[in-house]
Symmetry: C2
Subunit: 323 residues, 2 copies
Amino acid sequence: MRADASENTLAVIGCGVIGSGWAARALAAGMRVQAWDPDPDAVRRFQKNIDTAWPALVRRGLAGGASREALHFFTDLDRALQGADLVQENAPERLVIKQTLLADIDARVPEQVLIGSSTSGITASELQAQCHRAPGRVIVAHPFNPVYLLPLVELVGGQHTHRDQMESARAQYERLGMRPLIVRREIEGHIADRLMEALWREALHLVNDGVATTEEVDAAIVYGAGLRWSLMGTFLTFHLAGGEGGMRHMLEQFGPALKQPWTRLEAPELTPELIERVASGSEFQAGGRSVAALEARRDRFLGELLEVVERYWPEQEGLGGRI
Amino acid sequence: MRADASENTLAVIGCGVIGSGWAARALAAGMRVQAWDPDPDAVRRFQKNIDTAWPALVRRGLAGGASREALHFFTDLDRALQGADLVQENAPERLVIKQTLLADIDARVPEQVLIGSSTSGITASELQAQCHRAPGRVIVAHPFNPVYLLPLVELVGGQHTHRDQMESARAQYERLGMRPLIVRREIEGHIADRLMEALWREALHLVNDGVATTEEVDAAIVYGAGLRWSLMGTFLTFHLAGGEGGMRHMLEQFGPALKQPWTRLEAPELTPELIERVASGSEFQAGGRSVAALEARRDRFLGELLEVVERYWPEQEGLGGRI
């Protein structure tokens, strides 16, 4: 999915690491970027962050017309918002700051312009609460670091948002080369951060209990499941683990293990409804491909991935970790 | 880490998916494999599994002298164990079956020969309980699917195991091209499965609560954190998220979020001792490299990875998922 959003203008509101990442991604997609930060000194760090991102974006391939010259920095909010086709807000993660800023942006920007917030923890309805002009177009658009390379963006609408605004948002972020994930319900942490937090808390317990060092916990991911996770999530992975019977067989065989108190996270009851939802979902993802075909695909991918990632393993950099 | 264990013999005890994976890995490393299964029909599935694995191993590059002709299947246990330099047990995951079988193997194999069990859930001390000859050399050696490609193997000794036996085990599995992770304490699920289970249970809750489909949960990993996890685990990732201040800054800034009830997993208290352990561990992993250097390394890797993995995204295979 190559980015191409040329002749559009993105307003980047707040120029920290996340704002810089959005700006770099948009520039590489051929957009004009109008960045705003209340701190005049922010421009130096901002430019430095773009310097960091740019070589990776050049290696990825720039869209036609992409240029760093298309970047403009303002300390005046009106000038940054002028003519924007999309606004991306990246202010500090505090409710009052974001509500005040978004109400201000909402009052200044034409009603049809989408306003996305990079918030990881605040719901869209909370973001919309102080907006009086067109609150429905104020949504969560939560990216992942580094924003200029990782394609995932979680889109969440609030109580004022209509379905067609979400579809329009999906199209706009796709033009930035992203994979929008529309989240069905407003929930703290959306989806991805909840999954990462569950793993992170278990990791902290292992270190706290003296079972493993941080290096060992990381190695347990990097040399195992982590190699699969850039291709397949847990559900499709377990669908393969079930053999030709797929997820249905896997749940029959390993479902009881969910009741073991391995982790400090309580599992839901495996009701017939949940089994059906999980199994039919996994079968949809398999897309009619047999488990054998999915295994062959996985193995081709892992072979190519290992060729790449082995060049980054510690011993290649002269580091002497224990794993 | 290329595998080369030529002129050694691996006894593979139990020839299901995991046993087949060990056999394929050992053959590719140039070993002779003597496989045993009590079911004479097992040999057909076993050969079929090796057929599946072999093309990926050929693409990876075989060790000198590697040959599928070095594979021998027996229904007689003594013949499979004869002259083995390493025994790998892959019987069904039931305590009584494994204890009986391992006691039998222990009685037949010279004392210096290591006996690894592929168990994911049984502790090494339980495995050793019925072994009377040399119980200390009976250890957990837990691999990850597909065993012939994923390098991680968790090694856990039991109450009878000495440190030098673990060091010897590490060397033997390294010769099979693996990255042995020696687990410091006997704990249910070892390390990797505990981390994966925490994520899996949270994923089940999201599906159960109607927040996301299985496809959406998988997408939230595959297009985001999953792209990083083949390079860096959670600790090193968060070390980068802390900017030049690294993990110490990150824990100060985001530590309080651990107390939010996002997931159903309770977090440990961030005591000064835990902060010190996590921060100094992450700094060790950084190996003296600045955060900027680690970021540049990550971006080079992600660029190369995206070139590979994008060719496997659903639209390349004519699939029409929503993300």
